[in-house]
């Protein structure tokens, strides 16, 4: 099975690829330049693994939630690679690989969005709930104190000091695992239909409208 999977939803770029024999698992943390780096590492590893893109069985792409700019770089690069050969794409929620590495029964994954706001998703008995975007106050109202709060960054856990917390390590290996499972169960779509999880949407518009009325 030949594939290429990326997740660019956070400050840790994850990449996994295989040529059917060997594979690569890469995580690039805090390099801050997905736009400059992603295409470079994709090309490097396709070359290193001697994969010709036409032979790819599928592509995988994390669709967020997370940094919209990061996601757009990832998704538009994957769209470009997919287009010439119509390579199917497996989209996945970027929290799922993180959840895969957690062994608590009930937990919530949080990832910082705009100031004071988080993307979050609860996993009860390992079953994921809805992915949401809320202010920290709102989240705390809804979260039982018994739940374990998981995040990739210590700075973000600070906001949840009144909970049990757990620091996640994003893993390209777990990402591959969940994408392979999704591919096997046929969860694919055309690159044309790939889009990020838009949760800030309403916020952006409210935000704009607010400013707009202020200006005129």
């Amino acid at each position: 099975m030949k594939y290429l999977i990326v997740d660019t939803s956070s400050r840790t770029l994850l990449l996994s690829a295989s040529n059917g024999k060997g594979d690569v698992s890469l995580s690039l943390k805090d390099l801050d330049r997905h736009g400059a780096i992603l295409a470079v590492v994709i090309k490097q590893f396709l070359d290193l693994l001697e994969i010709s893109p036409a032979d790819l069985d599928f592509l995988g792409a994390g669709v967020g939630p997370g940094s919209l700019t990061g996601l757009r770089v990832g998704l538009s690069t994957i769209k470009g690679i997919s287009l010439p050969y119509n390579i199917p794409v497996v989209p996945f929620n970027s929290f799922d690989p993180l959840a895969e590495g957690i062994c608590f029964d009930d937990f919530v994954i949080c990832r910082k969005g705009r100031e004071g706001h988080f993307y979050w998703r609860t996993y009860l008995k390992k079953r994921p709930g809805e992915t949401l975007f809320s202010s920290i106050v709102e989240i705390k109202e809804k979260l039982d104190k018994s739940i374990v709060v998981c995040s990739e960054r210590n700075e973000e856990l600070v906001d949840f000091q009144d909970y049990r917390t757990f620091l996640l390590e994003p893993s390209p290996v777990l990402m591959r695992k969940i994408v392979l499972e999704a591919f096997r169960s046929g969860k694919i779509l055309s690159g044309l239909d790939l889009e990020p999880v838009y949760l800030q949407k309403s916020v952006a518009e409210i935000n704009w409208d607010g400013r707009n009325s202020r200006k005129t």
Binding site: R114, E115, Q200, V203, N207, W208
Partner: protein, 158 residues
């Protein structure tokens, strides 16, 4: 942002020369690391004020242009003046992408037009300039220093 000692100076009406002189005096006193937020409607003179700052910083005045389209202009001088205009930014994500904080250091002064969105991220020392239309050639000006350092800049007003 911790507001330690906000002090407000209502300076009343000023014509363009007074405004440029005021900005120039402030520009001369800047020592790096300061942020200046410029509030005011279309054409109230935010960019003009920045031209005055540039003068005080010994920056070639002709370099100062409206950053509305570019979003950020940078001018070298006695200190580096980073001139931003957030008018066209739609959301905070775009703002964060600019890495404004990364552009600032001890040799840099930041002047930001349409700074509403940037307000939660601003660090001290910080000076706020508010401009209001009064007449074709006059604007109502108020300054607020948010800390002792920027208040020091305004000592000449007292």
């Amino acid at each position: 942002m911790e507001r330690s000692t906000e002090k407000i100076y209502e300076l009343g009406k000023m014509n363009i020369d007074q405004l440029l002189k005021l900005a120039g005096e402030i520009g001369e006193r800047l020592c790096g690391g300061e942020t200046i937020l410029l509030y005011g409607d279309l054409g109230t003179g935010k960019t003009t004020f920045v031209r005055g700052l540039a003068r005080g910083l010994r920056i070639e005045e002709r370099l100062v242009r409206s950053p509305t389209f570019n979003i950020i202009n940078t001018y070298p001088g006695r200190l580096i003046l980073v001139h931003a205009d957030l008018y066209r930014l739609g959301n905070q994500r775009e703002l964060l992408d600019l890495d404004l904080e990364d552009l600032g250091d001890d040799n840099t002064v930041m002047a930001i037009e349409w700074p509403e969105m940037y307000r939660p991220f601003v660090e001290l020392p910080c000076l706020i300039v508010k401009l209001k239309h009064w007449s074709e050639n006059e604007r109502v000006v108020s300054l607020s220093s948010l800390d002792e350092k920027t208040d020091g800049l305004l000592s000449f007003l007292k």
